[in-house]
């Protein structure tokens, strides 16, 4: 099978999985909104947790994938690693954006303001900035080899940065405690809520996987087409 045929087949298959996960996502929505009891202290807004926490997990997973595949690229110089990293960054950006939107909406009900420099949200914000930098850098460099090298360096440095930002925010917060009215944290969830959360985690992970697979196939197709065109031009 030629690279182009392989990429096209991957596109078809992953598209199916995207649609499957969207259906499952709708199922999670229904379960969370209708069939899961509301929490007494925070009211209905607590249900945001079921779409916020899984997205955050996916965002960090995506970023971790960018970091690891960037290392793979620098070691092996395989352009597929670069395409995979870029795909993970783009898809991850979508989930990170969602976290930064649902987070403050939920936060408003708990903290009374849209933003406080909460540890996790702040870390997510800077993750978002690094991903943005990664995507902007890629769009500004045209030579594929150079683009891949630059992206890999930024991806690895970004991954190294994460623990330092975490510590910075943690230090800042322990010395400047938040005006927390209610602590969302990690409550021990009663059975029904836990089931919903687990379903949500699984669905979001599947959704991410399908989107990543599709995005990567698209990148491979574009790359293969470009090579085929270049070869035809040389001939």
């Amino acid at each position: 099978m030629t690279p182009i045929e392989s990429a096209e087949r991957a596109l078809r298959r992953s598209a199916v999985w995207i649609l499957v996960s969207l259906l499952l996502l709708a199922g999670v929505y229904v379960r969370a909104l209708v069939f899961t009891p509301a929490e007494m202290v925070q009211g209905l807004a607590q249900k945001i947790f079921y779409i916020h926490a899984p997205s955050a997990w996916v965002a960090f997973l995506a970023f971790g994938i960018v970091g690891v595949t960037s290392i793979v690229y620098l070691l092996l110089k395989d352009p597929r690693a670069d395409l995979f990293a870029a795909s993970s960054a783009e898809v991850g950006m979508v989930f990170t954006t969602e976290v930064l939107i649902t987070g403050p909406i939920w936060g408003k009900t708990i903290w009374g303001t849209w933003w406080t420099w909460d540890a996790r949200l702040t870390l997510t914000l800077f993750l978002w900035f690094v991903m943005l930098a990664y995507l902007v850098l890629r769009s500004a460099v045209h030579e594929p080899g150079q683009r891949a090298r630059y992206s890999a360096v930024l991806g690895i440095l970004g991954a190294l940065l994460v623990p330092f930002i975490h510590v910075s925010v943690y230090l800042f917060r322990t010395l400047h405690p938040l005006p927390v009215v209610l602590k969302p944290g990690r409550p021990t969830l009663p059975g029904s809520m836990l089931v919903t959360l687990v379903c949500a985690f699984l669905t979001f992970t599947l959704f991410f996987g399908a989107l990543l697979w599709h995005r990567y196939a698209l990148a491979r197709l574009t790359d293969a087409r470009a090579h085929a065109d270049a070869e035809r031009a040389d001939a």
Binding site: L157, L160, L161, F164, I165, S168, L171
Partner: protein
Amino acid sequence: MVELLRVAWAIAAKDVLLEFRSRTAFVSALVFTALVLAIFNFARDPTAVSALDLAPGILWITFTFAAMLGLNRAFGLERENRALDGLLLSPASRTAIYLGKVLANLVFVGSVEAIALPLFALFFNVPVLPVLGPMVLVIALATLGFVAVGTLMSSMAVNTRLAELMLPVLLLPFLVPPVTSAVQITARLFAGRPFSEVGAWLRLLVGYDIIFVAACILFFESTIEE
């Protein structure tokens, strides 16, 4: 090792000499410092907001901005006339080139800091002299951190079309740990807190420097290979 340092020194000296001749970035940085001092002085009500609250943050904004001005110019010099190719063709190792660039940038930013700090002490009336030793240490550590990463970022940014815009986009998240630590430590030093209180922040700063200087040395080669 000695050869490495010697070459780095030569590259740094060349850069510093070139900058000294034109002086544009240096003067811009000083003008910005004066501007910041004046504006913040007129912007606040001295009876309501104490200088001690504002000074650390403003000091580090100034230092960071000066660093940006210097970093923008760092590889810009080589971009003209493709001078970087000449540098790469020379027997100088990539690490020596990187260290030389970092050193030149440190001299640039350090010079601005050396002038800005006394000006701040004067205009904000903050007690710098009693804590001068620790202050110099903190300034040196934080500056090393963001200049090291900034030099690497600018070696990439310079090859993009909107280089001056790309550099802050790339660098911003990486400034958070060193600058936050520096501001927190500076605030405590100005307030006369004992040095032992800044232990955690200092460890963060040193840890950042070690990890990122090493990483940047390791990765610099990947940003300039052909």
